[in-house]
């Protein structure tokens, strides 16, 4: 079937309406206005009208945004200088009390001194969803075209030069045939394409692989964050309160920790980040989080409260050495897509914002020079390295690498590294997270024996998925492409025990036993777009691609 596609011409195309790209768009419009103002004043020709488009797979701006989150305001202050004033930006509260605990099975020990990376004085507790909706409105008001429900399906190339993105087809049935309301994806052609798809972007993955942008960097490393919002009957945990925990229930081979943040309106936001480089194939991040809540300290905190939302999302925690090449001809990578998150501080919003702004500064130069090759776009990488983001990422460069060898080594090395400004005797080499997973033989029994779901404090996965308000049109092809189902049934069952059923926090993967045969069923409509499967599958045969536009979770106020 040949499909006739429309072409839409834009100057700048941004894929993904997250903090990085919206900051890029907003900053770029500001820069262009300033440039044109200067040009007019000097009697020079201003730039022609620059069309900026942001495409986003979610049904509305912000719906797929999930983060803790504590915002370091450093970048946003430059983008929107008065954002803290007159309640302009939707901030929950400035960070107030801060504690870090090490949990044992029943007890807890408070760290006597807050480790500097976890000090949040001067930062804000925010809902990323709210912040992004606000930023999206600002962009639209500035004339940026934002297109929700339009995922990027393919990168368009001319040779190795990126010339735009094809949006996803709509109205394809589950067998891949066009439905009566079929609407083919559009080729959006642009001078510069910016990929800000968030963690493990599906186009970014294509691009990195095709242009070999990661030959000089370490494999990317990820964690997955499982998060719930709770509405409390009283103000026991005031907005701005911050707690982090380490230790239980995670084993010493598993990187991670929890956060508990106080939000407005008596809402507690808590979650557990679990390193996607654990060993035990039975490990289930959702179950770890449920277990975490049964700790007396946490259970007591949540007593009388009510679950109101659930979500999950991976995050890139590998840091400095895992950052791929971020610019090539016609294209740049920003934010989490470029692994620009500070894993040591558990913060990626301010780095994403900054990367978007620096990309915008570079794009302006490209527009003026009318040169969109790596020659000009590559300046973005240099800018990033010189910026505060580059400096803080460099300082934390060995953080996760140390944990690659287990928690105890990690804590020790992280301590040394902190004291030495990031220096270690030698650079630690790491492997990709999924390579840490060990065969099932070494792990017997039920890892979560005794974990019960009482629907008050703890919830089964499917119940939680309901609270993510996830929706996909059922009549479409699964957007989780398993390259070879035989591997699942023949090898994986034996070797790892089909860990996709465990690591997926949304019950997408299910081994079904039917008439004596096993097969993998993919309940794609549950998918919360966290990307864990694409990352953690031990054979790397799961390819996460974008579903029909509008599908996915709705992380309102998350």
């Amino acid at each position: 079937m040949t499909i006739e596609r429309d072409t839409l011409e834009m100057d700048v195309l941004l894929v993904g309406a997250g903090p990085a790209n919206l900051s890029c768009a907003l900053h770029l419009t500001n820069l262009i206005n300033a440039h044109n103002g200067r040009a007019k004043a000097a009697g020079r020709k201003p730039l022609d009208e620059i069309n900026i488009a942001v495409i986003e797979k979610a049904a509305e701006i912000g719906a797929h945004q999930l983060s803790g989150a504590v915002l370091d305001p450093v970048s946003l202050r430059e983008l929107v200088p008065d954002f803290e004033k007159h309640g302009q930006a939707p901030l929950e509260a400035p960070v107030g009390s801060e504690h870090v605990y090490f949990l044992t099975k029943r007890g807890r020990v408070e760290l006597p001194v807050l480790p500097p990376p976890l000090r949040n004085h001067g930062n804000y507790v925010v809902s990323l969803n709210k912040l992004i909706r606000w930023l999206g409105d600002k962009c639209e008001a500035a004339g940026v075209n934002i297109f929700p429900e339009f995922p990027g399906a393919d990168v368009l190339y001319e040779g190795d030069k990126v010339i735009g993105v094809r949006t996803g087809d709509k109205g394809i049935d589950k067998n891949g045939n066009a439905k009566p309301n079929f609407e083919p994806g559009v080729d959006i052609v642009a001078k510069v394409t910016v990929l800000g798809e968030g963690v493990r972007g599906s186009l970014t993955k294509q691009l990195i692989s095709r242009l070999k942008l990661d030959v000089a960097s370490d494999p990317q490393v990820f964690s997955v964050g499982i998060k719930e919002l709770w509405e409390m009957p009283d103000n026991r945990f005031p907005a701005g309160s911050v707690i982090h925990t380490l230790g239980w229930p995670l084993d010493s081979h598993t990187f991670g920790g929890s956060w508990i943040y106080g939000m407005r309106d008596r809402i507690i936001n808590l979650g557990l980040a679990v390193g996607l480089d654990y060993r035990d194939p039975r490990l289930d991040p959702h179950h770890e989080f449920q277990k975490f809540k049964t700790h007396p300290f946490i259970a007591d905190l949540l007593k009388g409260g009510k679950l109101i939302r659930y979500g999950a999302k991976a995050m890139p925690v590998g840091g400095w050495y895992t950052i791929p090449q971020l610019a090539a001809d016609g294209v740049m990578i920003v934010g989490d897509s470029g692994a620009l998150l500070n894993g040591e501080r558990l913060k990626g919003i301010h780095t994403a914002i900054r990367s978007g702004m620096l990309a915008a500064e570079t794009i302006l130069e490209a527009l003026v020079a009318e040169d969109y090759s790596r020659n000009v776009l590559g300046r973005y990488e240099a800018r990033l390295k010189e910026s505060h983001v580059g400096k803080e990422l460099y300082k934390a460069r060995n953080f996760h690498q140390a944990f690659d060898r287990g928690r105890n080594f990690g804590l020790l090395t992280a301590g040394i590294s902190m004291m030495t400004g990031g220096r270690l005797p030698r650079r630690l080499k790491i492997k990709a997270g999924h390579q840490h997973m060990e065969k099932r033989d070494g792990f017997q029994g039920d890892r979560y024996d005794g974990l019960k779901y009482d629907d008050k404090l703890t919830f089964a996965k499917l119940t939680d998925v309901y609270y993510s308000s996830t929706h996909h049109d059922e009549d479409q092809p699964a957007h989780l492409k398993v390259v070879d189902f035989n591997i699942c049934v023949e090898r994986c069952t034996v070797e790892y025990g089909n860990p996709c059923q465990n690591f997926c926090p949304a019950s997408v993967y299910e081994m079904i036993e039917e008439k004596g045969a096993r097969r993998l069923q993919i309940n794609f409509s549950n998918c919360v777009h966290c990307k864990t499967c694409d990352i953690m599958d031990p054979y790397q045969i799961i390819n996460w691609v974008t579903p029909e536009g509008g599908g996915g979770p709705n992380y309102r106020n998350m």
Binding site: D6, E60, N145, N181, V186, H471, G549, N554
Partner: protein, 260 residues
């Protein structure tokens, strides 16, 4: 042929609804919105009629600023222009007569052949706003419409009756039709449509423009209390692994319900 589509924006279908602290309505802080389902079908039907017979599709919507999102969606799908009854005065129009009064007032100066509404909204579900508009404007009406065939000065519609019965009815135009959900397949908004929609007119109309006052918008029925439905039955929830709940249920079906 000119068709007016009355569009209502409602909380998304998958929304987790909570009761507001005053227990008179839901907590709206936490919600995403969309076109009410039947209204989306009404819009689609209007666009299809326009494609067949020409003319203009005019979207009419009442609600706060957020409603613009649904209006823009309608324009992106192909509606020609929109009228947005956007005024704090309209916020107290919470019952059907008040809403209908405002909609009818806005249509007094429009020329149209047909008005489409959804058969009922997904929020209040009054199933009466359309008909009150028809009564106030003195135009004919037909409800729960499955198919629309304009024939000269009349429109022939297939109405759904109960229990699998249907009936064709002819009414003179102008007429108001309430459209059943699922009668056509909804189209997607295209990128070009979205771009084109930016240039289409959305006219913001205030109550005063229509000669309406707060007194006119006063509802004649009010919600005294909103609450989660009380269970009319004591539901016994069966818990456990699939095999366990299956065994428990079969036990109940055999010995309590006695159907096995």
């Amino acid at each position: 042929m000119n068709i007016v589509v009355c569009l209502k924006q409602v909380p998304k279908k998958d929304s987790i609804l909570r009761i507001a602290p005053d227990q008179k309505w839901i907590d709206e802080r936490d919600l995403s919105y969309e076109m009410s389902e039947a209204d989306a079908y009404a819009l689609e039907e209007a666009l299809r009629q326009k494609e067949k017979h020409g003319g203009e599709v005019i979207v009419l919507s009442l609600g706060p600023e957020r409603v613009k999102q649904s209006i823009k969606e309608a324009l992106a799908k192909g509606a020609d222009r929109a009228i947005h009854l956007n005024d704090p005065v309209f916020e107290q129009a919470t019952d059907a007569p008040a809403i209908a009064k405002a909609l009818a007032a806005a249509l007094k100066n429009e020329t149209f052949d047909l008005i489409f509404t959804g058969l009922q909204s997904d929020d209040y579900g009054y199933a009466q706003v359309g008909l009150i508009v028809a009564e106030l404007l003195g135009v004919s009406s037909a409800t729960i419409v499955m198919e629309v065939q304009p024939e000269g000065q009349e429109v022939r519609v297939k109405r759904e009756l109960e229990s699998g019965w249907f009936q064709w009815v002819k009414v003179p135009m102008p007429a108001l039709l309430t459209i059943q959900s699922g009668i056509n397949q909804l189209r997607y908004a295209t990128l070009k449509g979205i771009m084109a929609a930016k240039k289409k007119e959305i006219r913001d109309v205030k109550a005063a423009d229509l000669g309406l006052t707060a007194e006119d918008m006063k509802p004649v029925q009010t919600i005294e209390r909103a609450y989660l439905p009380q269970k009319s039955k004591q539901t016994e929830m069966l818990e456990g692994k699939p095999a366990e709940v299956a065994a428990k249920l079969v036990e109940k079906l055999r010995f309590d319900a006695r159907v096995i």
